[in-house]
Assembly symmetry: C2
Homo-oligomer: 440 residues x 2
C-alpha cells in the first residue's frame, strides 16, 4: 500500500536530528520512500492530512508485562515485597491463557494510543500475546518467563516449551514478531540453568531478556553466594553473547557498566515503577557516557500503573534531573531517542527508530492544536514535557495505519475494555478464593 | 440556571469519601442542591449526559504564575540560577500588559482542560489576569508580586498599586475573584517591608501568598543574617496572622512545621518544578502529620512546563514515594484531596473541594471509555495514576459549564493559541535585543 502523509512537521530523530516543517512523507510497502517530493510515478492509495501535526518515530516499550493490565490498581501503595507477595502473586496464581489474551489486548490499545509501535514482553501464555501482536499490527519481542526451578509440566514455563514457542513464532507476522529467551533473573534462576540458557543463546542466536540488579540486597546476595555482581554473573553464564536486554539494572558497579558497554547489552529503564514502588534511583549518566544503549519501558501496569510511553519519556528526564541533582541530565531530545532508536536497537528492529528514507514507516502523528503546544520556542521540550498521549491522532506501524483520527483500526477496543474489565475482576476474586482454600 | 448531570459515578472527596455509582447531580444557582433524586419541582434548563463519566470536585492550583506560559520551552535543562538569570529574567525584562493577558489566557485554557476550577496567581499586570479569570469563569486568588526594593513607579509593583488592585478587585465576578498580598519572598523583600505587609494584612484582613525556603542556601543565609529560619522570620513579621500560603517550603525545621500548623498556614507543593530544576525534595509526611494544610500547584510553565493539575496529582504521590523510600506515602485519595479540598481551603474558597449538597458546583467530568480506566479494581488509583487530562470532557465552575464535550465555552481557544504563540516569540526576541543593547 502507498500512503502519503500530507504536510506534517517532522522530528526525524536521525543522526542529523532535524525538525522539518510541512514536509510530506511518502510510504510504499511499509517503508519510508521519500520526504518532501514524491518518488516518480508515486500515486497514493491513501492520504492522511497531517496539517499541524508532528510526525515522530513511534516509541518502543523496551520492558513490559503487558497482560498485567489485569492487576492495574490491584496492589496500591505497597513496597515491593508486600506488593508481590500479598497482592500480585495472589492475583496471578491461577492465571489462564484467556486472561493473558484480554490483558495483553487491553495493553495494546493503551500502547497504540500512546504512540508505541513495539513492545518487549516477558510473561506467561505468550502465544496469546503473540496473537495480540499479530492482530494489533504492533511489533513485538516476546518470551515465556522461565524460572528454571521446579518441574512445571506446563508448556512454556519449562525450557522445552519456551524454545518451541521461540522457534515457531520467530519472525512471524511479516517479521513484526521476534522471539527471545526469558530467564526471569539471576536471583530466581539457578546458575546452571542460566549457563544452559547461555549455551542455547549462542547455539540458536536467540536474544535474551532478563531482570537484574533491582535492589542493593540482590547485589549483596549475589556477591556473597557467587563472589560476583548479578551483571558479572550473567556475563560469566554467557548470557551477553547474543543481543541482550537487562531490565532495571539500578545498582551497578563500574565494572558492571563496562561489561554492559563492551557486550552491547541494552538496559531497559522504567522510571515510573521505581517511583511507585520506592525502589530507589540510578544515575544513567555513566551508562550513557560509556556507550550503553539505554532504552525506556513502562514495566507492568500492576506497578506503574499504565502503558503510556509518552509519560515514561517525560518521567525519565525529570527523575534523572531530580535524583542526580542535575537539571542538565537527559537534556534535549535524549529521552525521545531512548524511547525510539535505543528501544528499536534493544529489540533488534534495526530499520526502526527514526524518520528517514529507507526506514520502516513507524510513525506517530501528534495533533498540535491544544494550548500546551504553544508558544513554539522549543518543539522538542514541548513534546517531551507537555504533549499528552491524547494528542496522538494517527499511528502507522510498518506502513499500516493502526489508528486513524483517534480510532484504533486493528483491535475492537470496546469489546476489549469490556472483556478485560469483568475478566480481571473475576480472576482476582477466583484466585484469592483458591489461595484462601490452599492456606486453610 | 438549573443543571442536571445525568448518571455519573461520583467521587465525593468529602468526609465520608464515598464513590457513588450512577447518581444524578442537581445544580441550582451555582450550588449542588441534591444528589440522586431531584428536589421537588426541579426542572433543569440543561442536562449533561455523564454516563460512564466520573464526577470529581475540580482542582485548585495553589501556586502558579500563569502568564509564564510565554516562557514554556524557553529555559530548558538548566539549574535554577542559570534558568533565571540567563533565560527567564531576559525574557521577562520588558513584559507588557498584553503579554500577560494572552499568557494567562493560554494558561486558563490549559487549566480548564486539566479539570482545574481555581488558581492562585502571583505575577505582574494582574489586572490582565483578573480579566482572564472573569472571562474564563474560573475562580482565582490574585496578587501583584511585590519586591519591596527600588523605586519602581509602575503601578502594582509598588505597594500602593498592589493595594489599589487588591481593594478594587476583591470579591469581584460574583466572588470568584479574591485578591491577596504578594511579597515575593524573604530572600528578596527586606524585613521592614515584610513587617509593613504584615501590618497591612492584619488591618485589611487580606491573605498573603509568598515563596519561602526553596533551597538550603536560603535557610542558611536567613539564619546567618537574622538568626531565624525563613518561616520563623515570616512569622515574626506578622505574615501568618491572616490566611497565608507559602509556596514550596522544601527545607523546614521541626519548629517551622509547628509554626505552619499552629498558624494555619497552607503550603503549596509543586513537584514538577522540583524535579525539572533539580531543586531537591522534601518529606511531606511530617507536615501532614502535624496537620499542615498541604495543597498542590503547577508553578509557572517556564519551569514545570505546563498547567496540568492532573499530572501534578500523580507526580505528588510518585515523588513522595520515591524521595522518602516509602511506597505507602501519600496513599489512596490523599493526593486528590490535596489538589481539591486542601487547595480550596488554601485559597479561601470554603464552599469548594467536595461533591456534596450545599457545596459550589465545581465539577470535572472524566470520560472513562479509554482502556487505561480498566479493570476497575480501584477507581481511585485509576484516577490518580492513569486518568489523563484528555479524559476530561466537561467542566463546571460555580454551576457554569465552562467546557462541554471537550470544547471551551468561555474563551476563544483558537484565537488565544494563535496570539500567545506569535506574541511570546516576539517578546523574547525583543527583550533579548533590549538586554543585548543594555549590556553593550
Amino acid at each position: 500500500m502507498r500512503i502519503r502523509i500530507k504536510n506534517p512537521d517532522i522530528m526525524t530523530l536521525n543522526a542529523e536530528s532535524q525538525i522539518l516543517s510541512g514536509v510530506d512523507i511518502f510510504i510504499d510497502a511499509g517503508m519510508i520512500v521519500a520526504l518532501g517530493e514524491p518518488p516518480e510515478g508515486f500515486v497514493p492509495d491513501e492520504t492522511i492530512d497531517a496539517t499541524n501535526h508532528l510526525a515522530l518515530p513511534g516509541f518502543f516499550n523496551a520492558h513490559c508485562h503487558s497482560p498485567m493490565t489485569f492487576e492495574r490498581g490491584w496492589a496500591e501503595d505497597l513496597p515491593l515485597d508486600r506488593w508481590f507477595n500479598e497482592r500480585i502473586w495472589v492475583a496471578e496464581s491461577a492465571l489462564t491463557d484467556e486472561d493473558v489474551y484480554w490483558g495483553a489486548a487491553l495493553a495494546a490499545c493503551e500502547m497504540i494510543r500512546s504512540g508505541c509501535v513495539g513492545f518487549n514482553d516477558h510473561y506467561f501464555y505468550m502465544g496469546e500475546v503473540a496473537k495480540v501482536a499479530a492482530q494489533s499490527g504492533m511489533k513485538a519481542s516476546l518470551t515465556w518467563c522461565q524460572f528454571g526451578i521446579g518441574d512445571d509440566k506446563e508448556i512454556g514455563t519449562n525450557l522445552d516449551g519456551a524454545l518451541k514457542f521461540a522457534s515457531e513464532l520467530q519472525s512471524s507476522s511479516e517479521g513484526r514478531i521476534k522471539t527471545v529467551l526469558g530467564p526471569h533473573s539471576p536471583y530466581v534462576c539457578p546458575p546452571d540453568f542460566l549457563a544452559e540458557i547461555g549455551r542455547i543463546a549462542r547455539e540458536t542466536g536467540l536474544a535474551v531478556h532478563i531482570h537484574a540488579s533491582e535492589s542493593p540486597e540482590q547485589v549483596a546476595n549475589s556477591l556473597k553466594s557467587l563472589g560476583k555482581t548479578p551483571i558479572e554473573h550473567l556475563d560469566s553464564c554467557g548470557l551477553f553473547e547474543t543481543r541482550a536486554i537487562v531490565a532495571h539494572a539500578l545498582y551497578l558497579t563500574e565494572n558492571d557498566i563496562s561489561i554492559l558497554a563492551r557486550k552491547n547489552v541494552s538496559v531497559a529503564h522504567c522510571p515510573l515503577t521505581y517511583m511507585k514502588l520506592a525502589m530507589g534511583g540510578t544515575d544513567l549518566r555513566p551508562l550513557l557516557a560509556a556507550g550503553v544503549n539505554v532504552a525506556l519501558g513502562t514495566d507492568g501496569p500492576g506497578s506503574n500503573n499504565d502503558m503510556d510511553m509518552k509519560e515514561v519519556v517525560r518521567m525519565a528526564t525529570l527523575l534523572q534531573k531530580f535524583y542526580n541533582n542535575d537539571a542538565e541530565a537527559l537534556a534535549g531530545d535524549l529521552p525521545l531517542r531512548m524511547a525510539t532508536a535505543n528501544g528499536a536497537r534493544a529489540m533488534g528492529f534495526a530499520d526502526s527508530g527514526s524518520i528517514e528514507v529507507g526506514k520502516s514507516a513507524d510513525i506517530a502523528l501528534f495533533n498540535m492544536d491544544s494550548p500546551h503546544w504553544y508558544p513554539k520556542h522549543n518543539l522538542t521540550a514541548n513534546l517531551v514535557h507537555c504533549a499528552k498521549n491524547g494528542d496522538i491522532r494517527h499511528l502507522l506501524i510498518a506502513g499500516q495505519p493502526v489508528m486513524k483520527n483517534g480510532k484504533i483500526l486493528t483491535l475492537d477496543e470496546e469489546r476489549i475494555t469490556y472483556e478485560a474489565d469483568w475478566r480481571a475482576r473475576a480472576m482476582v476474586q477466583k484466585n484469592m478464593q483458591i489461595v484462601r482454600e490452599y492456606k486453610a
